[in-house]
Amino acid sequence: MTEKLIFEYSRPGRQARAQAPAHAPSREQAMANVPAALRRTSVLGLPEVSEMDAVRHYTRLSQLNFSIDTHFYPLGSCTMKHNPRACNTLASLPGFLNRHPLAPVSHGQGFMACLFDLQQMLTTVTGMAAVSLTPMAGAQGEFAGVAMIKAYHESRGDTERTEILVPDAAHGTNPATAVMCGCTVREIPTDSDGDVDVAALKQAVGPRTAGIMLTNPSTLGVFEQDILEIARIVHEAGGLLYYDGANLNAILGKVRPGDMGFDVIHMNLHKTFSTPHGGGGPGSGAIGVGKRLRDFMPIPVVGKDGEDDGARYRWLTEHDVPHTIGRLSAFMGNAGVLLRAYVYARLLGAEGMTRVAEFATLNSNYLMARLREHGFDVAFPERRASHEFIVTLKRQKQQLDVTATDFAKRLLDYGFHAPTIYFPLLVPECFLIEPTESESRETLDGFVAAMVAIWAEARDDAQILKNAPVSLPVRRLDEVAAAKNLDLRAQSAIAADA
């Protein structure tokens, strides 16, 4: 099953008429006062289809996707857990959807109450001093964090501190973010247990150290055993600690970054607080800060005056956050995503948050144990898995000439989305597997059975894997050709002169 491009349904003059305003002046009338040179003279390049064409086309397209709502999706580091539908339904109430971001706060108290409550809950569960919800994705949360660290040092006249330490296992966004903030990056190696090499860290810190960016549990799926020692070393050297919250799901309600000594964290609300991934976004990268960075938070932040029935919410200003790194989005970040996270957080409550970490970890360790039982190699067999763990298919590659990609593509045929492959870069032919807490034991057992079956197929006839997938709308796609012969838009649909 494949589906044509929407443009192939287009016919001149066809339209979904009810969707447009009933009465509109002509283009000429509307543009009467506008100099000709500023007017458009070409067609718009949009398809001309009926409502049914559009509904049918996009409904069919949707069916070509794997998703949480249809498939197990153990994509490591992405926390693909169930998205409760109440979050979407309730964030979509007309009172919320129709509110202009610059409408008076007198007409936004319901919305602001939700954001304020969310700030409070996130502050508590991370052990930080305050939270700003405005960053629009994890990477923007990272940016905010490093920008605050830099601003902090600058505010103290400590202007030489422009070096950010980043473990070599870190997500690529960490070094990229440091550079966006005008910092330089220094990599810290990983030791054989998967932890940060503390000796190397000690060597690295110094008067140029602005801070360190750590993911904990790390991308290797293990919790830094020396985290308190690391915090001490960095702090003593005058640096601050940044917590990359990509893996917060592993410790939610169980361990708090604030208690570990972190000065600033970001949270991926679309992961840990289950707002939808939406095929690639929106994310939401709320940040939490310790006392030192409180005055540096990005705005807008919601403040509250009074209590209970007398409570009144308002936007905090530069006055309240005197060193703020300022605004990072035109308005209030991904506000609707925040409402979803709020509903989710309230549905979980304190005990539910703790269960997230517990069952995400249980599922991960169980899946790791079951795969090991069947002979698969894991990257750190002596360690506890956090909410995710790494299988390395190096041996299968050597013995059978099948790659992690081959295994991944064949898993799709078995009705499972593949785990993250070839990340982290340190482990060859790796699968980074994150089952999340919302999957049942039967599903995990089904995944194990598929892995075992695929390995057996590989022994039998490696071509089965090389040919995979065979049951999806398309067979294996040529990504090299895509990058070489760039085809980024449908040529036939491009605007011609009107």
């Binding site: 929407i6 979904a16 008429r17 969707q19 509109a24 506008v34 100099p35 500023l38 070409s42 390049g45 949009l46 398809p47 409502e51 559009a54 509904v55 996009y58 070509l64 794997f66 949480i68 709502d69 998205n83 409760p84 979509s92 009172g95 202009h100 610059l102 007409h107 108290q109 109450a113 629009m136 690529g172 005008g182 055993q225 308190l228 361990v255 208690d259 991934h277 939406g278 095929g279 690639g280 929106p282 790194i325 989005s329 035109a330 957080a345 309230r346 517990e358 970890t361 249980l362 360790n365 807490e437 398309v474 067979r475 796609l477 990504e479 895509a482 760039l486 085809d487 980024l488 838009r489």
Partner: protein
């Protein structure tokens, strides 16, 4: 347990398989001092029923009000089909299409989106979206710095008529990399870029010129002159557009006498995203083909499978941070996928005629509103020249106080400009999109007249 399927049996079986006695044992590598967490102040889990009621109550508190505020977020009708389809689980709960064979729905849709955006803007390439319009401008500036190899100054000319929040965001993000923004004042009569002020930069090393169309005041810039100026002076021309306005206004790909703007950004919200208190929206970014490898963010390309069938993949990933790390074009990884899904459906439903009608009706409504309001004693337009669907009016009283009095009548009368432009005392930026009826415009005019009368009476008394 909400959202956790484990039965007691499951837990026991699983613990046995792992070889531990209790779930807590799985955390035994963590320093015990870290493992006593208090979550005081976080309420106990609410039932869906309880939270449903709470959210209905809170949403009801914020409901209502006739909105004449624009200023970067616009009330447009969003066809019902848009979100009914966009929130289908297969779109809503999918992730970034890392396994393209299992994600053709999202990938093809983004490819269609890119095609539509190229059509609307007249540019060669569109990415799969950025966070919002403001951050897209920041990314465009950084992209211009990378792309303009001849310029060494990192100096970007920023007209005052660019949305003040966009200017703030661009500064907050780009200043860290040493970008210097030079303000370009507006010409007091027209509210558009003061070309004399611009001319003072002629011959200097200018990395980029930002060109808003329409500008923050709703006015129309002479984009052809500005684009040509940029190219003559070796600067990258960055357009900041409203995608709905492009239904009627010249597309950036044709600005000026040459090849048009180099980079185009804008806020995608008017294409199907509800106002929703400020987000999620999405940032548009388009560029000319020669700059594609400097472009931040995801992009989808068409390719073939091993049987020669068309299919779609994420491409140009070597620009991105998970491959290139500290040398990436940006740290951005997510796009605003769900919003792009909605926008693509939205544009399909409106089509060219529909989008044109939306734009034309918005222009006409704003003109009609301005006529009605300026018929009131003491209310006048501040700038001459045509405007799109926003306009600056000066009131005969403090804007803040008037807007507050209007809000008490459930009319959101616009944005007071004094906080952003010291000289625009008593001024408001008003907007009337296609969602407004004649009766709405009358209601605003009547309410404003009443408020001003009441104030006049009070000041006399």
């Amino acid at each position: 347990m909400p959202f956790i399927p484990h039965t007691d049996d499951d837990i026991q079986t699983m613990l046995t398989a792992v070889g531990v006695a209790a779930i807590d044992d799985l955390f035994d590598e963590i320093d015990p001092s870290l493992r006593n967490v208090s979550l005081d102040g976080i309420p106990e889990g609410a039932s869906e029923q309880a939270i449903t009621r709470l959210m209905h109550e809170r949403a009801a508190r914020d409901a209502g009000g006739l909105c004449f505020i624009g200023a970067g977020a616009y009330e447009h009708h969003v066809p019902a089909a848009v979100w009914e389809v966009a929130t289908r689980g297969e779109f809503y709960s999918a992730y970034t299409p890392y396994q393209p064979e299992a994600s053709q729905g999202t990938l093809q849709l983004v490819y269609e989106y890119q095609t539509m955006m190229c059509g609307l803007t007249g540019m060669d390439v569109a990415n799969a979206s950025l966070y919002d319009g403001a951050s897209a401008l920041a990314e465009a500036v950084l992209m211009a710095v990378r792309a303009n190899r001849k310029s060494r100054s990192n100096r970007v000319l920023m007209p005052a008529g660019v949305h003040p929040f966009y200017r703030e965001v661009a500064h907050n993000i780009c200043a860290n990399q040493g970008v210097v923004f030079e303000a370009l004042e507006y010409e007091p009569a027209s509210g558009t870029v003061d070309l004399n002020a611009l001319e003072r930069w002629a011959g200097e090393d200018v990395t980029a010129l930002v060109i808003p169309q329409p500008n923050f005041f709703g006015g129309l810039e002479d984009v052809n002159t500005l684009t040509d100026w940029a190219h003559t002076n070796g600067a990258i021309a960055i357009g900041v557009i409203n995608p709905v306005a492009l239904a009627l206004l010249a597309e950036p790909g044709r600005w000026g006498s040459g090849e048009g703007a180099d980079i185009v950004v804008g806020e995608g919200q008017p294409l199907g995203a509800p106002m929703a208190g400020g987000g999620p929206y999405f940032g548009i970014l388009c560029c000319r083909k020669k700059h594609v490898r400097q472009m931040p963010g995801r992009v989808v390309g068409r390719t073939q499978d091993i049987e020669g069938r068309d299919g779609y993949v994420l491409t140009l990933q070597p620009r991105e941070q998970h491959i290139r790390r500290s040398k990436a074009t940006s740290n951005i990884c997510t796009n605003q996928g769900l919003l792009v899904t909605a926008a693509t459906i939205h544009m399909s439903l409106l089509g060219p005629q529909g989008l044109e009608s939306v734009a034309a009706a918005s222009v006409a409504n704003t003109q009609a509103l301005v006529e009605r309001l300026t018929a009131i004693d003491g209310v006048e337009r501040v700038f001459d020249g045509p405007c799109f669907h926003e306009c600056v009016l000066r009131l005969p009283a403090a804007a803040d106080a008037v807007l507050e009095a209007l809000a008490e009548k459930d009319i959101f009368g616009g944005l007071a400009l004094r906080p952003f432009f010291g000289s625009l005392e008593n001024c408001v930026l008003v907007c009337a999109t296609e969602t407004k009826t004649d009766a709405d415009l009358d209601a605003y005019a009547r309410a404003l007249s009443d408020v001003l009368d009441a104030r006049a009476a009070a000041s006399v008394a």
